[in-house]
Amino acid sequence: MANSMKIALAGNPNSGKTTLFNAITGSEQYVGNWPGVTVEKKDGILHGHKEVVIQDLPGIYSLSPYSIEEKVSRRFLVEERPDAILNIVDGTNIERNLYLSTQLAELGLPMVMAVNMMDVVKKNGDSIDFAKIAKALRCEVVGISALKKEGDMEAAELAVALAKKSAADKGPNKLPDVPHVFSGSVEHAIAHIEESIQGKVPARSIRWYAIKIFERDREVIKDLGIGVGEMKHLEEHIRDCEKELGDDAESIITNQRYDFIKSLMNRSLALNEKRHSKATLSDRIDKIVTHRILALPIFVVSLCAMWWLAVAEKGPGTVLTDWANDEFLADGWHLPFTTHEVDGKDYDAAKEDFAKAEATVKAWEAGEKKASIEDEETGEVADEWDIDEAAYKAAKEAEEPDPSKYGVWVPGIGALITGALERAGVSDTVKSLVVDGAWGGVATVLGFVPVIFIVFLFLAFLEDCGYMARVAFIMDRLLRKFGLSGKSFIPMLIGKGCGVPAVMAARTIENERARRMTVILATFVPCGAKTVIIAMFAALFFREQWYVAALMDVVGIAIIIFGGMALKKTRLFSGEASSFVLELPAYHMPTVSGVWHHTWNRLKGYILKAGLIIFPACVFLWFVMHFDWSLNLLGDEEIEKSILHDLGSWIAWFFAPLGFGSWQGAAASVSAEIAKEQATATLGLVAANMGGATTGANIQAFFASISAFPKLAALSFMLFNLFVPPCMVAVAVTFREMGAKKWGWFAVAFQLFVGYVISLNAYRLGVLFAGGGFGFWTAVAILVDLFCLWMIFRPAREERKRQ
């Protein structure tokens, strides 16, 4: 658009920027990433002004390149030069907020300062003289309350008017009026620098550039191509200043900026002193929440709450997931409160009776004297009973119960698709492709939405009310020992639900080393999909070992701890104990729309990403399972002719040391990379010809057929699928969050190594202790263990250097 106008929305974190952005742009938002980095980029169309784009910059404290956010913001402001800046400022903490404002003003762009939270300022009995601030900073100043939607549109429209006026009467090259905030000698040096860079920079922003050069900002000096000789000349002026003021240039600028703000505040801010000397409500809450003894129990309780909400048995997350997978996306469901019994039985009971009748018919016709049904999730025999001719005849008469007789029946999406295809009379191949392949893929993605939605909702609430920042503060001491940051805990929390949002949540960690380590380690926490694998194996192989399921969580945590210790000692992740600086926003009740925006934006990202990856992968899996190389559609019993069989055979050798080096084990493990719970589904299909009566028996028979120690082979298979790289969606996100491809490959290699070694140990050492003897791979396992122990417990790099 030729006549489009760009307005940058800039301000401190927690200044109400997001609230203002949502209020003035509404739903017309476009979310993406800033080029090359994973910082979220949002822009939106201003209400009622189709030609005006509001560019939401990340929340920042200054324009120096401390964090990725600051780099991104200043690059945008300096290079794209928006038509105006809308600077949002927290009126209750105006002194600190003005630090950024003075820097923005130096850019020389038309600027409107929106002083937010004016309702609170007034309630506190404080008053701010906007006219004095406007005069000192050479910008327009207005008071708003973003939360109450007071003055927000007016502020935005003022910025539009200012941009238009500036374009009309000044032109881009006229020198603007910018505030002069520094003392005589500094201003003198800056004037010299301005003189020498004239013509090299946009005239309006010359002062901003000059100050950055005074601060010896490497990025600016490089970008402007200032040579060594030229810089030497400028250095003289800078050094004179430093000598005179007894401080380094950067500190001089920071200090004088604050001096300027302080004197401005003395003139324009009237504080209600009585109120400000008191501890705030937020401080009093922190006394308890960050208390040295109470902090941890409080945190554990909130953790358990999330756990229960998202993944606990019979918790809302599980109930919703079951409803989504078994009813909404499958056959259908009854509207709540409309169900009633027919002939003294509810629908579930009637359905089970019919399933039994079907099983009876099938068994009798196969010439058997017993019939059974199996549990869908574990593949075990759920019920078994004797049958005779009378029972067979009665069963033959049984009719499938009609769900609509039991209440208001809403057909499931799966059933609707199947019905539509049947009515259209398509061939079996097409039906199988659509139902088992395409729809199966979509349903897999959507089936996890409830859990992820609940986790996101809960976390958005914790973040918006301010508690999440405290969690990072509380956990920092412990996690620093493993090379992580206090902020690493949040991704691991999320990882219990799903690894994809977990990896994305690592973004908030500024320290790059800690952030990368968190991305690599967070997905070792067994996620919701992995719970499906654990449940099946625990039921089929470890009935007596009740602790196996819990043990898997412990193994995951142990990997994070020891993995962290080992990584921290490598060249890639070593370094000084990282500093921890984090603003703790005042506690406040989150708004519904704020939490919703937060949750939905993340959820949308997951659905799109997962849909783009899992969907085609499921179609591919369906294809290789149902076709042979000549593209003949295969029956259920013909899987050994399938393409999948051959693909599995080619890579089976890789799994041989782990005890399940057959095509079935290989195929199941590889398909688990599409989505983890595929491990059980694929295993059930590829083991179908083992001759067992049920899927569970088939899987047991399969492991017995490939190893003299079937339990150990099964354990090895389970461990492998839990602790190798997560599903491909999480891997894709890992690659993105790690920044560079080589880092993504490093993460995957590390995860594959860990999973392989754990699996190798479980099988080979297990066989050794079970009396199966010492072999080549036993020796390899022990050698690898020694290597790992050395990696974990050797002295840190810093200590090694000192010696």
Binding site: Y66, N93, T254, Y258, D283, T290, R292, S579, F580, P585
Partner: protein, 72 residues
């Protein structure tokens, strides 16, 4: 003395900030500059929460040890 020595509830005036340039710059932006008075709102195993201007900033012991202060 450094911030580490300041007890809960006490105030101190910042004299200078040492340590890593990037962290120093970040602290400066948050208001940790010479002359600013900060109050220790709470401590937890060496980590502390500080009141700086109207905001609350959490720092760990390593960071607190880099901030030189005077008693007020």
């Amino acid at each position: 003395m450094t911030l580490e020595a300041v007890k809960e509830g006490e105030r101190a005036r910042i004299v200078r900030v040492n340590g890593d340039e990037a962290v120093k710059r970040h602290l400066g932006a948050l208001g940790f500059v010479a002359g600013t008075v900060v109050r220790v709102v709470g401590t937890s195993y060496g980590n502390m929460i500080l009141a700086v201007h109207e905001s609350r900033i959490a720092v760990n012991d390593a960071t607190a040890g880099n901030v030189e202060v005077d008693a007020v």
